[in-house]
Amino acid sequence: MTYIVKPKLHHPSLPKNGLGFTRRDYEGRISTLCAGCGHDSISAAIIQACWELSIQPHRLAKISGIGCSSKTPDYFLSQSHGFNSVHGRMPSVLTGANLANRDLIYLGVSGDGDSASIGLGQFAHSIRRGVNMSYIVENNGVYGLTKGQFSATSDKGSKSKKGIENTESGIDLVALALQLGATYVGRSFSGDKDQLVPLIKGALSHHGPAFLDVISPCVAFNNHAGSTKSFDYVREHNEAVNRLDVILGRTPITTEYKAGELREVTQHDGSVLRLRKLSEDYDPTNRIAAANYLQERHAEGEIVTGLLYVDPEATDLHDRLGTTTTPLNQLGGGTLTPGAEALAKINAGLR
């Protein structure tokens, strides 16, 4: 469908956000992924989240690696600069971009092959480095563009379309992200937009490394009986710990909740994460408890989703480096070049 140019006509009654933009203003080119691909649902969720947050599209940079998931940044936010970079290396490119201009919002889009196989190192180090980003893995457990090989997030025992059983252990990126110091960690399902959109909004408004593992069934190669990443399997085993609302600024709570049912987490920038508890004792600000809970439920065959961990006092790489508040790419020669006089002193010290 690449030959079809997407019409730009807007229906006059489409709702507008605070910037006067409709959802259509956040769209991109027509997707070239397979019809029914979970990734397209995630793109739609990103569009919805950015629209709801009234993000200026040009102030967001979308960066990806290589693979089906990494093609998607072309399919949303056409007014944002995008970078389809190197397989498994989105995290380093995003880190560099972030260092160059700390004022933009950085959305990293990756897949399970891109992040858990070839790019596991960069995934790990960008998170432990504390890069301020929203890192989304569109996780389908297979290599789509090369037609159905297992990826490193495939569960042991999961069957391929050809009936071959995966004998290698699956990597749980959420467990790793928690251990590595991600300060906002969530898991969701491409088939649950109500859960996913607020999780993306929370990630985009979080200051620090935010990681989202979004299970996104591959309709072409991994949506059959015996797969643990199929629509049916994920629906059956999905155990959400909470439901999230992201509120920018103070707005009154309009719905009535039972005591203890609602948990509010105010982030550093004043945004409020309002969580409706689904699991009685789940505390999303306790990293160790979160990690334990995930392990226990995983052993029971459940896929735990929701906002799993958030540190409202998180810092980022720039805070740690002590970088100036002016974006580095805007510093001029006067600030950057010490000049001839300083050089004369350096020369004197080298004689």
Partner: protein, 625 residues
Amino acid sequence: MPDTLTQASSAKPAGLAAVNDFVVKFANVNGSGSASANGLFAKSIIRMGVPVAARNIFPSNIQGLPTWYEVRVSGAGHLGRRGGVDLAVPLNPQTWDDDVKEISPGGYLFYDSTKPLPASKFRDDIHIIGVPLTAICNEAYKIPRERQLFKNICYVGALSWLINIDPAVVEQLLKEEFASKPKLIPANLAAFNLGRDWAKANLKPIGLQLQHSDAVGDRIFVEGNAAAALGAVYGGATVCAWYPITPSTSLAEAFTGYCEDFRTAEDGAKNYAIVQGEDEIASIGIVVGAGWNGARAFTCTSGPGISLMNEFIGLSYFAEIPAVIFDVQRGGPSTGMPTRTQQSDILLAAYASHGDTKHVLLLPSDPGECFTMGAQAFDLSDRLQSTVFVMLDLDIGMQEWLCEPFKWDDRKQLDRGKVLTAEQLEAGTFFGRYTDVDGDGIPFRTYPGTHPDKGAFFTRGTSRNRMAGYSEKGIDYQDNMERLLKKFHTAASLVPGPILRPASKKTRIGAIYFGSTTPAMHEALEALEAAGHHIDAMRVRAFPFSQDVYDFIHAHDEVCVVEQNRDAQLRSLLMIEGGIDASHLTSILHYDGTPITARFLFDAIGKRLDARKATRQITEKGPRQ
């Protein structure tokens, strides 16, 4: 040059005699604290106004393995390695035999005579100078560490008497060195005098002598890595991502130091960001990401790092993203040879990555050029929107060289290349990311976040048309590749041109050389000229080569290409890019890991030219048709 002193005879030859012209080689144990004493030795000679070329030859080791420090004293100003040793100071029993073997007949052996050594450990044709360094220091110092450290300064003291180093100069240097720890000044001075006084009482000065001179002028003594790092500061680099690898590590460390001094605001805010990556791939990824987003960024590495970075280097070429890479070249993979010098990444860097790629290389010949090219690399990479390599080697990068003071013109502006601003976009300036609007192959770009609804584009390796739209059409791919080639031709006119060093007489023989070979080459050319070999020499300073380089080759019957690698990589590059016939270019190669010497070059080029003359005589005497 001919070494007339190497004609050994059975009788002990007279001691070598020279003023301000000799080679001293120290052999030490790594980690024994000798480096600062040896540095003091070299610097005190420079302070006497006598040019010095000092080279530290060190192992892949922190403590225990052998290390050498070679000081070439040259009143005439020759800064390359000469070859040969006139005065050896072997203080490492492990390497004694080899160190003694290296001394020129008539030369001097200075050693610690505390423990007697059998006569078989010496040579008859050299002059032996024993100083009981250990005994002197054991008597003067109680603490073992002090005995070791001060022994180093003590031998400098003894040598100062033997070769006439001015003690006032040493005292002044020690005062400067320990300005922040003044207690150490008298302690070091005492150790220096301990050795000097012993030598004065027991020994006569040797034939190798120093005299005050004014041949150093206002030159500075600095490592190429530090100079390149300073170049990066002056070139406006704000992002540095790197991974430790010998011999490039000190470049990133020097950049860190200079940024702390010159890029930190009064409130402590840093106008720079330095990240130690988890590997070279992440380091270049960070550089490419920062370059894409409009910051000047670089990484520094060595050959193995370039191997790892290949995929990103290709992306930088195809996606047209500025990146600067300092490649401090060295020998071989793994450990060992990597602490030795080579020029062996030329082809690797020139054609790095998959697909049809070519990259700009700058070839500095001393720390002074490391500074200027280090700064210029950022202008070039922004202008060309591509990777620019600055090709140092261990010899330039990690050794202190005497070079002209750094210069900077305050009127100079950073050239950020073709970048459209929000105002230009708002005014309706045409923007086609991959459209050649000026005929130089270089398109305009925009930084992310510039304008709300104009100038955004999606960056890909290839598969795009002139407007950055997705395209898998062959014609679009080819159109783009042709433009990239045109851009590379433009690069040839922007990079530093070659420098010609014509012979004093008209000649059909030429020589091409580059980088750290330069000082040894200049010395060899002088000696060859004196021996009747007239050679026009050209120092190439960058790739792509300008037409001047090809014209030079065509203007000569035979051109020697001098390089410090096995495979004649620069020669290959000349042949490939210039269509030069292989028979036109003669390789002169030196690649054992030690810096090339003037004596090697004199012999190798001299032999080649002698053979050529002989062949020509035979040909010319043959029957005429």
